[in-house]
Symmetry: C2
Subunit: 582 residues, 2 copies
């Protein structure tokens, strides 16, 4: 099919839209791919819809290749299944909720674990039925507090979500691995630069969850990567390398010092360095004890927890929460301090925590044999040379300290640098959360029930349009990888001469007949306007039919490199056919 | 791709679902095509999704063929555009409304006239841009009071809706005609038996709106058709043929009679026939005057209207409303009668209506020269031989009387019979309702604005799955037309013999290689179970690989006719390839 710009429902814009913060948003609007309807809610115009469908097709092919079976759930869902799993309330304000005419509670599905689990339970019963991978490409809804960056974070968006159902943990690991490989194929085919980051700390089971992040300075997700190896991880998932333990023999004894007015690390370090102790202290030599409280899921009571980290770093609450999940974490308030008078604010030390049975977790750098300056559990007093393993024994370690650029990479190769990305995929070994909620069992060969274990796997299909655009553009416009481009060749009729017009038409027809997808700019516009639009629209190959025709040549321009090649008009169809097949 | 029943996510049911009222619903559930999630809300399982996608592809091809350009709107829409057109309230309880987290009003789109109009206004400005046809295949929402018949009347459903934008009425007529022809192609390709009915009475502009109804006894829509010609129409659109006018000369004069206790037609006819008038009266000789009130859009005041129809028929309010649209219509209540004492209930005649300036419309059968028995505007009195055009002069005619089977067909050929159908398509010359609401103008060549005129055109894509199933099934299961079937050939391995299994596998692979879509029943089930499932699933051609293999033959069964043919195993791929190409 030839797409003629003379009739295509497309008007490109010369000006950037006022609300566009990132290049992909700006260019997708300017090039006429999407239009805003409401915050985070967009329409797809003809070229945008083509790119979306191309990406959808790639995703579908790779899901089918691993044996995924496509089904389709509604977006409008009854409350009950989400009530059963607690997500009706857990989703909070992110969930679009509504009533039907009879007052029944409904929601717009943000993700479909409940429905997939119930459907498998409805159809399958025997161990012989498993494993199974089901997926859908479906419109999802999340009432984001801050929809942003056009289609990168929308409130209505297209996702591929798949779910694996296995009889065993080993089966789940295989389904997970199959998805991981399929996702690599998908994102490679889309020409994306991306990293796969561990999404959860080791405490939660290592590779049970990974995110695929398209590298982009404008991305919302931060992650760290090694300067030397392929290591990359969410900040929450970074595991701090522990230094080797040190011998306790010969270490100086702990000493309590009067350190008036030193409630902060800075004041403490200043005081110590002026105290004539014969050595220099830095913030890294101090042990900062931060008090939080935690509550296990379903529990009523909060429990105190002391977190000890080197004084030069702050606590990163997201890392702490990820480390302690599924428990809730909160900072102590004044009431809590009042209820526990042994907590001397600004001067808390490991001693009173141990004396009062408060759990105490420390940064992995706090190993046996390390000596610290820390609180002495009385106002205006600190202790120095308090040695881990001799003077105090923590209850374990915790990933709570912030991660810094320059920290050693957990895999031992190089140091960490910070980077930003756009989450384009997420794979997750869910386990039995949902199958427990709905009692999804298979009858085993021995007649006993086997609780099914699940994985869930998502690809942001509409977001990928934005992610590809974010990575692939220049000052003039979009530059689509061939697999997702709205056409293979953009033919520009550059000149009012009838022979030029006729040649353009003929070449478009021949290219179309050769199986290429062709955009033909047959508008009565100037070559300048046409060239600008071709660059903006971003089809990978531009064929200019212009003055050269008199000498029997046309110009083939590579949108990516900008390289122009003159090609004899008689050979150009074969030339482009070969080019596009690559 | 070969679909293996050993792994397909499909469990057929032996029992009919309890809530299924119609065959298509029963069979689509039993054959594992759809599953109910909530009233009027369904999931599509793998085979159902394939049929849905096949239908979608046919619709898309025919829309592209008439130059339609596909775009995609969101389902979640802001209130404002619908407020502008009044549909935010007009839709009443049928509209799903919701709030977002900031309290903004949103709706789930039931149809997208507003968005299409605004989008065209956003992109286009010159007369040179027009005409344009835009369409989408998109999920729609209507909170039906009584969702029924499975996917035939759902609350979440898939529709193709298209909209034409033209500079002139002639252009609109062309766009309308193009859609009409495209719809005929679509429904023909889907193998449907259907009629095209006028959806509106002549008063509203003739063929400005037509519905495509798939014939089905279980359909919700009633229509009438001629016993002899191709005439078919919604009951609302039936135009009553008027008899020829008769000369007034020599007709007996009108006479007022004392007719005590005759407030109904039956009591009146009984009285007249016992009154010694020398002739026999039937209900058809009486003129029943029904009082209603009407209100024009935007008007505050209701106005009285008298409707005169032959006494043997009742008023069909839907026909009356269609005739008087866009005015509202309501019956008079006691207050109205009290306010107009000249209305003598049970004895109302044309006289007092004329005397009191009340508009009076009559059935088209009430022509000049016809004589009637009717009310004399005083209690217990009627008048006979009241002649139209002599004794009273109506203000016009109205289609208010019910239509009966046996009535003459409006086109003069044969008589009418009642029939039922499922609305599968609707084409409508909308005109300027929405372009007026949003001031969609094109700048004309003379520099003056031209108000654009619109058509809207819908196909119920998900409903079509049900409509095709409703027309195409038997006692054993579904029978899909080839173009929409989930596969071309259903290969049944009928026997545990290894050679039979191997031959089935090999044939499936060869058929797949030949480009056919193959379902392979490779399950370890009995032939009886497999045959029953093959009939239930309804693929048009069933290939049975069984005992005949020993003699070098396999069996090809036509699902529609039940015809079985033995074919040499060596020639069966060629045979089926030819069969499926038909």
């Amino acid at each position: 099919m030839i797409t003629r710009l003379s009739t295509l429902f497309l008007r490109t814009l010369r000006e950037d839209p006022a609300d566009a913060e990132v290049p992909s948003h700006r260019l997708l609007v300017r090039a006429g791919y999407v239009r805003r309807v409401a915050p985070g809610i967009y329409s797809w115009l003809p070229l945008g819809l083509r790119v979306l469908r191309n990406i959808e097709a790639v995703v579908r092919q790779e899901m089918d290749a691993i044996g995924g079976q496509e089904i389709l759930f509604p977006a409008l869902l009854p409350r009950e299944p989400y009530q059963t799993t607690g997500r009706w309330t857990e989703y909070g304000a992110n969930l679009f909720r509504l009533h039907d005419r009879k007052g029944g509670d409904y929601l717009l599905g943000p993700t479909h674990e409940e429905l997939f689990t119930l459907t498998v339970k409805g159809e399958y019963s025997s161990y012989k039925d498993y494993p199974v991978i089901l997926y859908q490409v479906q419109t999802k809804y999340r009432d984001e507090e801050r929809p942003r960056a056009g289609i990168l974070r929308g409130r209505e968006f297209l996702m591929k979500d798949s779910y694996s159902f296995d009889l065993s943990d080993e089966g789940l690991a295989r389904s997970y691995q199959a998805h991981r490989e399929a996702y690599i194929k998908i994102f490679d085919r889309l020409g994306l630069r991306y990293v796969i980051v561990s999404a959860m700390s080791g405490a939660m089971g290592g590779s049970a969850s990974e995110e695929f992040l398209a590298e982009a300075e404008t991305g919302e997700d931060t992650f760290v990567r090694s300067t030397e190896s392929g290591y990359a991880a969410n900040v929450e998932a970074v595991i701090t390398p522990a230094p080797p333990e040190r011998p306790l023999d010969g270490l100086p004894p702990a000493r309590v010092l009067h350190t008036p007015d030193t409630p902060t690390i800075d004041t403490l370090v200043g005081h110590l360095n002026g105290a004539g102790l014969g050595r220099t202290f830095s913030a890294a030599d101090t042990l900062k004890n931060v008090m939080v409280k935690t509550r296990q899921p379903g529990a009523q009571r909060w429990e105190l927890l002391g977190v000890g980290i080197p004084g030069d770093r702050e606590v990163d609450m997201k890392r702490l929460e990820a480390s302690l999940a599924p428990a809730e974490v909160a900072l102590l308030d004044d009431t809590d301090f009042a209820a526990h008078p042994f907590l001397v604010k600004g001067y808390i030390g490991p001693g009173s925590l141990a004396d009062n049975g408060v759990r105490y977790l420390v940064d992995p750098r706090v190993v046996v044999g390390t000596a610290w300056a820390t609180g002495a559990d009385q106002a205006d007093h600190h202790v120095v040379d308090l040695v881990c393993g001799r003077d105090f024994t923590p209850d374990g370690t915790v990933e709570a300290a912030e991660v810094w650029a320059g920290d050693p990479s957990p895999d031992g190769a190089g140091t960490l640098v910070a980077a930003r990305g756009i989450e384009i995929g997420h794979i997750f070994q869910l386990g039995r959360k949902y199958t427990d909620a709905f009692a999804l069992d298979a009858l085993g060969s021995d007649g006993k029930p086997i609780r099914i274990t699940m994985g869930c796997y998502g690809v942001g299909v509409s977001r990928l349009v934005g992610a590809v655009a974010e990575q692939s553009h220049d000052a003039h416009g979009l530059i689509w990888p061939r697999e997702v481009a709205p056409a293979d060749v953009h033919v520009v009729i550059a000149g009012k001469d009838a022979a030029i017009g006729a040649a353009g038409e003929r070449l478009a027809i021949e290219l179309d007949a050769a199986g290429l997808r062709v955009i033909l700019d047959d508008r009565p516009a100037t070559p300048g306007v046409k060239f600008a639009d071709a660059e903006l629209i971003g089809v990978p190959t531009i064929l200019v039919v212009g003055r050269g025709l008199a000498s029997g040549v046309v110009e083939v321009k590579d949108r990516t490199t900008g390289e122009r090649t003159e090609v004899p008009v008689d050979g150009v169809v074969a030339h482009l056919n070969e080019l596009c097949a690559k």
